[in-house]
Symmetry: C2
Subunit: 321 residues, 2 copies
Amino acid sequence: MAVYTEVSDEELGAFINTYDIGALTSYKGIAEGVENTNFLVQTETGPYILTLYEKRVNPNDLPFFLGLKEHLSEGGMNCPTPLKNKQGQSLGHLAGRPAAMVTFLEGMWVRRPTVSHCEQLGVAMAQMHAAAQDFELTRENALSVSGWRPLFAMCANRADTVQKGLQAEIEAELDYFEANWPSDLPKGVIHADLFPDNVFFLRNELSGIIDFYFACNDLLAYDIAICINAWCFEPDDMFNVTKTRALLKGYQSVRPLTQAEYDALPLLARGAALRFLLTRLYDWLTVPEGALVTPKDPGEYIKKLRFHRSIRSAADYGIEE
Amino acid sequence: MAVYTEVSDEELGAFINTYDIGALTSYKGIAEGVENTNFLVQTETGPYILTLYEKRVNPNDLPFFLGLKEHLSEGGMNCPTPLKNKQGQSLGHLAGRPAAMVTFLEGMWVRRPTVSHCEQLGVAMAQMHAAAQDFELTRENALSVSGWRPLFAMCANRADTVQKGLQAEIEAELDYFEANWPSDLPKGVIHADLFPDNVFFLRNELSGIIDFYFACNDLLAYDIAICINAWCFEPDDMFNVTKTRALLKGYQSVRPLTQAEYDALPLLARGAALRFLLTRLYDWLTVPEGALVTPKDPGEYIKKLRFHRSIRSAADYGIEE
């Protein structure tokens, strides 16, 4: 739930008039997104999404995020496309915040992904990786291995309040990953947060991908690893090999994995589990009393981390090479 | 901000299919409304608003609320019109809640109402009163004079923490109104919550009225009194006689006030100020730590109450008879 910034009808109307999209006829704050303020705006020419960037987004990253969406749209991906105002700019200002208007994407995210959804996700992710190959801007992954230890340091001394022994377990993981994280796998722009709520489907066909605010340059297969964790476990935390196979099948129908990427999957999935465990743990232990957003339970990702640590090779998942 | 009930794409899709409005293509929770959960739903035939009624709404009142909106729409008023499902019902169930779909109303509420907005509001309110005259259902005003003392009893002992002497002041008001509230003025269905956020304008023309969840049978002029408080004071709490005149002019262009109604305006406006002071005071003193909704400062209505108490006759406002 997130309308952090109130906008008056007068200032929004004036902002809309900087675009060539007709007059404003309606707007509603959307109770989605924990980082920014989003409005579903209607004008004489249709619906749009207006985002006001709040302080958790670094304004220096906005050209990368907006440029990437524009680049992917031009490359044929279905994702929100930034509108250019009459001055040709996609980034504006409203109510003291950086602000951008994007096209409205039809579809809904699925609460219970099926095997078919996972396969379509694989296809779309590989298409996104391909479409972004010639994108010129770059953005470092602030939440890659080197960012994990500083993040953990801010909450490590309370980790054992979540589960006894967790602090030592995570410290051993950090030691392991700092020594063993691969650097020679294919790289490119990854979404880095492709959870089900960021992928829309319409009549069971994937209709688009949203929320590129973690996108960055990193190992392509790491994006797959994030999705295995986010899409291929059941609500009871059991690993679903059929969904994982479908995800990889979809992905490889566009871009086959190299042998090294395939071999690295258990390590990448274990690293992806640690990365989301760390942010959830941090949020869990530092969320202020009475915050608007309920933090997600880190327990789910403790289990995923341990599961992947128990895997000795990609074949152990039950997936084919 | 209010999405109290989460709804999955599957259950919403099934619910939409009980209506003859095409397939669901999108839905977003709306960060508006403190009582219910609202979604802006898009189907193949256009946008709609879906409301899930939460526990603060009495289900027994829903036929009145939905019937009233239907009746007003048929009478030519612009307000959300309940859709009937394939069984001819306007009330359904979704995610364990009573639920209804209504038409989407274009327009936005104005943060800074002008004299013209006030005059248009007066016209629309009188049209609403006229259109509702032959509505057959009735609903008692739970927040009329007889409801004020029980409401105050739940927070009276903490009233002086807001302002010293407030408890005694409000008790004297309650004594006064219980002895002097008029009963012989014209009655009918009133909106009872016609604040600026419930009145939409499009290109500075009033485009509709929403949120009938306080509508009830009461004195028609009491609705005017509520609006004087809500629309005709400036942000510095100064009374704006020009806006009040415009409101009354608009109203009387449709239904002239009786002499008794005109004479009662100071008393009704003072009572309306007390009614909103009491609910704000109650919310202010009982809101749980860390609640999603920030309660409104009761101080504004303390000032309005005192202002109207200082008025000896309607002419003292500077308005003509």
